[in-house]
């Protein structure tokens, strides 16, 4: 029976994939065509979703975007015989999926299986190199596993880019009866969805990464702190964890090794600040998500006061391939001190949005135009926000910046979690700057004054500037306030809100009713 693939990823579902899948099954039954429907993850080409694929002797052939109303036509073209001329003549025929330029140019390591496998099939996972990393890890000492992660050059993909191996090493060397591995899956940044895709489309890779982390540092309990806005990811993770437990990949005596690792998903409740690791730990303990002072570091005193690894989904989901193929294999990708690959998420006003995993070093321009195809509106791209709501806005003159942590730091910007949001020339950058303060005011945990009060004062100052009131004084006030927030906030929420604000002011003063000179510091 020919296999037909229809994605079950949230983005595909948000464009009608469920109806398309149902229609395909109905139509196949009505016509007596025998098919096996597989619900795979998304390949990450969102402008083509729902992307339907058909298995052939030469590989999978893609059709898209397929709406329920297109299904009868596809059967008329005998699309399940996808190598025949009749199928090729169908207007939605795209050719072999792996040959699509968007995919072919990518370097998918962390996302190697995403879109290819059935997310909840452990057999599929194993057949596509799944649990090879764990197998190797089980034959290594904790210190050697940590060394491999350190040598790979992997840095925290949540945004802070702290070397993962160094964090693990601190936990490894912290003596304690109980240690924890916590996965930060509170992916709240606008323009980001790679964590969600991993959890919905390849959940076992995250489970495997967390299991390796637990074995490496001697932690027997893991938690995935998952944002409440991801109900599909919740269901998928819980089901995958159930299956992993049944198959002996979680729980006591994992694969006969004597190691124990229990894993549980905990739901967040819509507080952006809980993406900050200490606020997240408070929340996991059942408290208000107030940011903690550091030190002590969570690696020394984390969850319930015990040594805790807190890593982002992508960091943990990258560990299996490092343990499978070796640290050097991973470190061979990338540039400078940014080793390996970054799953980049194209979002906002772009023709072709989706997931692009590439070695560090590609330029923004390549991503916005070669992959993104320019603005969806057909107008010029005027500004790009990289790294979520706390990331700087970049003007066209900075589009040649390579995606590299240090290159972004040099232009006073952040790469963050790799989300890229494009705006066309209708954007009002003063409004976006005001919005950054408004967002900070809503989401501030309230513990430190610069963030709690500064954000509200920021909204007020922005309103005055936009109205043209006392420009020189208010611009000075805006810069002073930003300086206080940058240097005096307890965490990145208050500490980085000035990034979008000041970058908007510096690069787009005309939107604030200012000349370059008036806007200058």
């Amino acid at each position: 029976m020919v296999k037909v693939y229809v994605p079950i990823d949230s983005t595909a579902l948000s464009l009608g994939a469920e109806r398309t899948a149902k229609k395909i099954v109905q139509e196949a039954q009505a016509r007596g065509v025998e098919i096996t429907l597989v619900r795979n993850g998304s390949r990450g080409l969102f402008w083509l979703e729902p992307l339907v694929e058909v298995e052939t002797a030469q590989g999978r052939v893609a059709f898209g975007p397929v709406q329920p109303s297109d299904v009868a036509g596809l059967f008329n073209a005998e699309f399940t015989n996808a190598l025949a001329d009749k199928a090729k003549a169908h207007p939605l025929y795209l050719g072999l999926t792996d040959e699509l330029a968007w995919l072919k140019k990518q370097q998918r390591l962390t996302f190697a299986r995403v879109g290819i496998t059935d997310p909840l099939s452990l057999e599929d996972y194993l057949a596509h190199d799944g649990y090879q990393g764990l197998k190797n890890a089980l034959a290594m000492s904790g210190a050697d596993i940590v060394k491999a992660v350190t040598d790979s050059g992997l840095r925290g993909r949540g945004g802070a880019a702290f070397p993962t191996g160094i964090k693990w090493n601190t936990v490894l060397n912290a003596p304690a009866e109980q240690k924890y591995v916590v996965c930060n899956a509170d992916e709240g940044d606008s323009g980001t969805y790679s964590d969600r895709m991993i959890m919905e489309d390849d959940p076992f890779v995250l489970i495997e990464g967390m299991t390796i982390a637990g074995i490496a540092v001697g932690a027997t309990q893991g938690y995935i702190y998952l944002r409440s806005e991801y109900p599909h990811a919740l269901k998928t993770l819980n089901e995958a964890i159930r299956k992993a437990n049944l198959a002996g990949y979680l729980g006591e005596n994992i694969q006969g090794s004597g190691h124990t690792f229990h894993l549980e998903v905990r739901r967040a409740a819509g507080a952006y600040v809980c993406g900050e690791e200490t606020s997240l730990l408070e929340s996991l303990e059942g408290k208000r998500g107030l940011v903690r002072f550091k030190p002590p570091l969570p690696a020394i005193e984390g969850l319930f006061g015990k040594p805790t690894i807190v890593n982002n989904v992508i960091s943990l989901a990258t560990v299996p391939i490092i343990l499978d193929k070796g640290a050097q294999y991973y470190a061979d990708y990338g540039m400078g001190r940014s080793r390996g690959t970054l799953p980049i998420q194209l979002a906002g006003n772009l023709k072709q949005t989706g997931l692009v995993e590439l070695a560090f070093g590609a330029t923004l321009r390549e991503l916005l135009y070669d992959y993104g195809g320019g603005a969806a509106s057909g107008r010029p791209i005027r500004a790009v926000q990289v790294g979520g709501p706390l990331g700087a806005y970049l003007p066209e003159s900075q589009f040649d910046t390579p995606l590299d942590y240090e290159a972004f730091t040099k232009i006073w910007a952040v790469l963050g979690h790799g989300g890229i949001v494009a705006f066309d020339d209708t954007v009002d950058m003063a409004k976006m700057a005001r919005y950054a303060f408004e967002f900070c005011a809503v989401e501030s945990c309230g513990k430190c004054t610069p963030c709690r009060i500064g954000s509200t004062r920021g909204v007020e100052v922005m309103d005055k500037i936009v109205l043209g009131k006392n420009h020189p004084q208010n611009v000075q006030l805006l810069r002073d306030l930003s300086d206080t927030m940058l240097n005096g906030s307890l965490c990145a929420l208050g500490g980085m809100t000035p990034y979008p604000v000041l970058s908007a002011l510096n690069h787009f003063p005309e939107d604030f009713g200012l000349s370059n000179k008036e806007a200058a510091a």
């Binding site: 983005t11 806005e229 991801y230 976006m432 809503v442």
Partner: protein, 159 residues
């Protein structure tokens, strides 16, 4: 005893409290379980929760009120969340918000007169590749317009 709650709802809440009483950091999962069943976390049960988890009533109130997701009052039968984040703004979500508020005759955090639908803002649904996005109950929808959302509401909430 809260008279607005049925006996069945009370029993559900009791069962959840018992199940989470000894779970480390059990307050958040407990609040989720209650809200999943009842639709909100009734203030009248704060004392029972506090007692079972060895907390003060103020601490329970503090947690419920800290998180946007939790609510202490009942809302409409269905919930429409409209994304306000930057990616959706770049694709015209401000216009979508204004049009939806006008069409539904409610502002954020309000419920339509028939008690059917509550409108909530949300900061990012993780569907940034298909902005603007909304979530109706537990399903996300991408590339939305006011007309498409209205059609969805008729289908899901009145269908």
């Amino acid at each position: 005893m809260d008279n607005t709650l049925s006996h069945e709802q009370h029993a559900q809440i009791q069962a959840h409290i018992q199940a989470h009483q000894h779970v480390p950091g059990g307050l958040m999962p407990l609040l989720h379980a209650i809200q999943d069943d009842i639709g909100y976390v009734p203030e009248t049960v704060y004392p029972e929760i506090a007692k079972a988890l060895a907390l003060s009533v103020a601490e329970v109130h503090g947690v419920v009120s800290f998180y946007h997701h939790f609510r202490s009052h009942p809302i409409g039968k269905h919930v429409l969340q409209v994304c306000r984040a930057e990616s959706c703004q770049s694709m015209g979500s401000a216009k979508l918000e204004a049009e939806l508020k006008a069409k539904l005759g409610v502002d954020y955090h309000q419920t339509t007169a028939d008690g059917n639908l509550t409108l909530l803002p949300v900061y990012c649904l993780g569907n940034c590749g298909c902005s603007p996005a909304v979530m109706l109950d537990d399903e996300v929808y991408g590339r939305m317009s006011a007309d498409k959302v209205t059609a969805l509401i008729s289908e899901v909430c009145h269908g």
